[in-house]
């Protein structure tokens, strides 16, 4: 039996079409996009073509897309870049308690520099209350940064509402859309978005490449200085094969892929909740990423489930993929009010477009056995 990869929220395989699109740019069209000879021109054209494709997906202007090395760098650029560039306006930033580390850590760093950060609460489903957001706005507020689709619990925020308020109050609105990009619509115009973080390796594109949409006029200090690449916002020789692959990955996504993931997800959720006692779905029942199914199983711990599943050829993660390297239960699960003892028993199953229903069956059967076996071992019941 082939292995079953159910960790597509952590990373995805590169799609065949994507790899095909990248291939010519490694050893044939290998020019530096800043060179002015024919190799350079060829690279530059590929770069600008990719920029346009990515922009199209967000209803943005190509000029507003800045390529980076990934989601983490884009989040750092958005948070630190906008904060440092708009210090004159104020020192207050608003974000949530369920952000990815690549937003939370830059916030902590900014706090050390004298910025004041408000971390918004979420409800039991992981939703931010827009009213609560509105009440937290001050005269000194520069920006609000919200994770669009949560990587752990899958909850999708109501960014339309938040965007309206942010625009009205004239504060920048940044979303971390690493999980949601291509999985749910993002429109920088209708949703009043000022900055959007996206990356490639979550959407069947290559690792090591991402982008930040920065609305024209939004002031951002660069993080990486050097040559004048990416309209001086991000220096460094452009990773053309990566950029081409990223754009191709974005281009080939179809509503059918999303529909398929949703089906697999719903099938998993239904069977697991019905067939495994003391299992609970985490996150919002409807407003959730098409590829996220996250549960807690009482009386047992996530890593041991994960490892026994791995032995059965099934790859999943616990909450945040690797939270088991840490000892603390995930800050996201805790923010939803799940007690720590239950949070330890969480498991995230993240189907992708290459998974099949048969694989889901095999997974449920094995998961049932494994949960039973670990509960046998557990002092609780």
């Amino acid at each position: 039996m082939e292995k079953i990869y159910l960790d597509n929220a952590a990373t995805t395989p590169v799609a065949r079409e994507v790899l095909d699109a990248m291939m010519p740019y490694f050893s044939e069209k290998y020019g530096n996009a800043s060179s002015i000879h024919s190799f350079g021109t060829e690279a530059k054209e590929a770069l600008e073509d990719a920029r346009e494709k990515i922009a199209n997906k967000l209803n943005a202007n190509p000029y507003e897309i800045v390529f980076t090395s990934g989601g983490t760098e884009s989040n750092n650029l958005a948070l630190k870049g906008a904060a440092l560039s708009n210090r004159k306006k104020g020192n207050h930033i608003i974000t949530t308690k369920i952000e990815h580390g690549s937003v939370l850590k830059p916030c902590k760093w900014l706090e050390k520099l004298g910025f004041d950060v408000s971390y918004l609460d979420v409800d039991e489903y992981g939703l931010v209350d827009p009213e609560n957001f509105e009440n937290s706005i001050r005269d000194e507020t520069i920006m609000v940064s919200v994770i669009h689709g949560n990587n752990e619990i899958g909850t999708i925020q109501d960014i339309d509402e938040i965007g309206k308020i942010a625009r009205e109050k004239e504060i920048y609105f940044h979303i971390d859309a690493c999980q949601s990009f291509t999985k749910t619509g993002i429109n920088v115009e209708t949703q009043n978005l000022d900055m959007v973080t996206i990356n490639s390796h979550k959407i069947y594109g290559p690792k090591g490449i991402g982008a930040l949409y920065i609305r024209e006029g939004v002031k951002v200090d660069p993080l990486i200085h050097g040559g004048g690449h990416e309209r001086k916002l991000r220096a460094g020789t452009e990773n053309i094969p990566g950029i081409v692959g990223f754009a191709k990955a974005a281009e080939i996504t179809t509503p059918g892929d999303v529909e398929k993931m949703r089906e697999l997800r719903d099938y998993l959720i239904k069977r697991i909740i019905n067939e495994i006692p003391n299992s609970n779905l985490i996150g919002h029942p409807q407003k959730r990423l098409c590829n996220n199914a996250n549960f807690t199983f009482k009386f047992i711990e996530g890593e041991s489930m994960l490892m026994l599943l791995d032995q059965a050829g099934i790859c999943v993660s616990t909450g945040s993929a690797c939270s088991s390297h840490a000892l603390k239960p995930s800050h996201v699960l805790l923010a939803t009010g799940i007690p720590p003892e239950d949070a330890h028993g969480s498991l995230r199953l993240s189907p992708g477009k290459y998974n099949t229903l048969e694989e889901m069956d095999y997974t449920v059967v094995n998961l049932k056995k494994i949960v039973g076996r670990l509960r046998e071992l557990s002092p609780f019941k």
């Binding site: 752990e152 047992i300 032995q311 939270s323 390297h325 720590p340 003892e341 046998e376 071992l377 609780f380």
Partner: protein, 162 residues
């Protein structure tokens, strides 16, 4: 990340379960921290010495927690309670060919749970409890009842990947 020995003890745990009418019961860990171990022992007297005749464990926890529980029962079985209470976290992790740094606390828990079982046995029999067993007992109780023991490495790097 784990040694083959750890994987083996995790996948095929030795002495899993709970003894009926045990002579001693020990608990360590705290569900808030994600690891709880329960150890039950049967003690046999021979030549004026107390031998651990049988020992079983029940554990909720990660692979390392289960493997260290399994290992501590193997190490303890057949030993005098005097020798058994000397089993340290290092002994357990060594017997498992090492544990990742962030998982070292699991071997501590396993040693604690065994100690607690011995403590329980000795107090029931009104045996004189050695000073360090007493002090370890107090520490364990505190951690088990508190909202959780402090991890050595609460600030250990968190690799997030998704």
């Amino acid at each position: 990340m784990y040694s083959e020995k750890v994987i083996d003890h995790f996948t095929n745990p030795r002495n899993a379960g709970e003894l009926k009418n045990p002579d001693g019961v020990g608990l360590a860990g705290n569900p808030v921290c994600g690891d709880v171990m329960k150890i039950t022992i049967k003690v046999r007297k021979e030549n004026c010495k107390d031998f651990i005749d049988d020992v079983k464990f029940k554990t909720m926890g990660c692979a390392a927690a289960i493997a260290t529980s399994s290992m501590v029962t193997e190490l303890a079985k057949g030993k005098t309670i005097n020798d058994a209470m000397k089993i340290t976290r290092i002994d357990i992790s060594d017997a498992l060919c090492g544990l990742p740094q962030v998982k070292m606390h699991c071997s501590n828990l396993a040693a604690d749970a065994l100690n607690e079982a011995i403590y329980d046995y000795m107090s029931k029999r009104n045996l004189t409890i050695p000073d360090d067993l007493e002090s370890r007992h107090k520490k364990t109780i505190k951690e088990t009842e508190g909202t959780g023991h402090k991890h050595d490495d609460a600030d250990a790097p968190v690799d997030e990947c998704g």
